[in-house]
Symmetry: C2
Subunit: 226 residues, 2 copies
């Protein structure tokens, strides 16, 4: 019985890591689809999102089963609760990658922005790719040094978001209505990816240290969370 | 021991309902602040958001304690898991109400939109108020008839969101850059409130029926979730 239980926990851990890697791939692919106006990459992300949802459902069901049948305590309970929260966060990151991919697809064969705005959005896309890659690495290696790098990247995304809004609000910045709307939404999607990486990183830290810091339990209340 | 446990579960239920009512008040106040350009109402929502975060943290901590110390099963486990997920959803709704209030405050003494766009945003604000009130009523009364009304309201919010975007994309719609940016973000915040109400309503249905439908466990994958 005990062995089956440990196997169930190991399976949940494996599924969570697989989910993280798949979401990392989705963010990487979606942001490249955006920057390169690549229809095939965009379609790939959109098609793959259903798989991400299914893995999340599988993790949630497995966690509920373990809670109901095994009544885990201490480290095991921490793993199960963290897995439930992290899988929900990762699933939302998959949705955000899809939103970016949908925009890339809708504007194909054009790139969804131009001029100075495109430059800032491309930098946000790059940062979003990198912060997500750092989160996946943190999940793989559990090296808590990576947490502060994730925070720095998130700060950088917030700063770039302000640049996007500065550009948007200058009536002289030459943008069509479609480019304006896309810039508001894309910058928000990319910035939210950063917020979710920070939230997920806190969960990993909680898993590793067992430190039940309230900040590890809720999304950062100072973030522009929705 | 058993009595203490039942008291803990009752406290979690009470806290969750109090959280729902407070979030309902925040959405009501924030949307009125937006429509009436009322600075005082906007400040009230912004100040109150910290309380919402604190109640959510309290619920999460109480749930973890119950899981660790009482190992609940069946209906009790369902209550605890649902409380964790619903409190996270309600906390995000509080954030969205805050975002709306921040916009109302930033544009004071003016209203954050004008003309036809203001009309559609005001209708979205009204629908967001009503769908949130329905969710609170559902939490209070557990009358599952309300779930389909919540779905209808959400459909209506999606339809109004499309109207906002139709208006935005017509270059002739007279809007300043600030009004454009505000309209994109406000319409998204209000539409997201609807999505969260649907997700929370599914959780209530799960709590009442015990039907472990996958759709009750994850946010609606068809929603424009982030």
């Amino acid at each position: 019985m005990r062995e089956i239980f440990q196997q169930e926990l190991a399976d949940i851990g494996d599924d969570l890591l697989a989910l993280g890697q798949r979401v990392g791939h989705a963010v990487d692919t979606a942001t490249r689809a955006l920057q390169e106006a690549d229809l095939q990459l965009a379609e790939e992300v959109i098609d793959d999102d259903r798989q991400i949802d299914l893995i999340e459902e599988r993790i949630e069901t497995a966690c509920l089963n373990v809670l109901a049948l095994q009544a885990p305590v201490a480290t095991d309970l921490r793993l199960v609760v963290s897995a439930m929260r992290m899988s929900a966060t990762l699933e939302r990151m998959g949705d955000l990658a899809s939103h970016v991919a949908y925009t890339a697809r809708a504007r194909f064969p054009h790139v969804a922005s131009s001029g100075a705005m495109l430059d800032v959005l491309a930098r946000m896309a790059q940062e979003a790719r990198e912060i997500t890659a750092l989160l996946v690495k943190l999940m793989e290696e559990r090296d808590l040094e990576l947490v502060s790098r994730i925070h720095s990247k998130d700060d950088r995304l917030d700063m770039l978001l302000r640049q996007v809004f500065d550009l948007l609000l200058v009536e002289e910045t030459p943008l069509t209505r479609q480019e304006l709307v896309d810039a508001v939404l894309l910058s928000r999607f990319l910035e939210r990816l950063g917020d979710h990486c920070v939230a997920a990183a806190k969960r990993v830290a909680y898993l590793v240290t067992g430190n039940l810091d309230a900040s590890a339990l809720v999304e950062d209340p100072t973030s522009t969370d929705d």
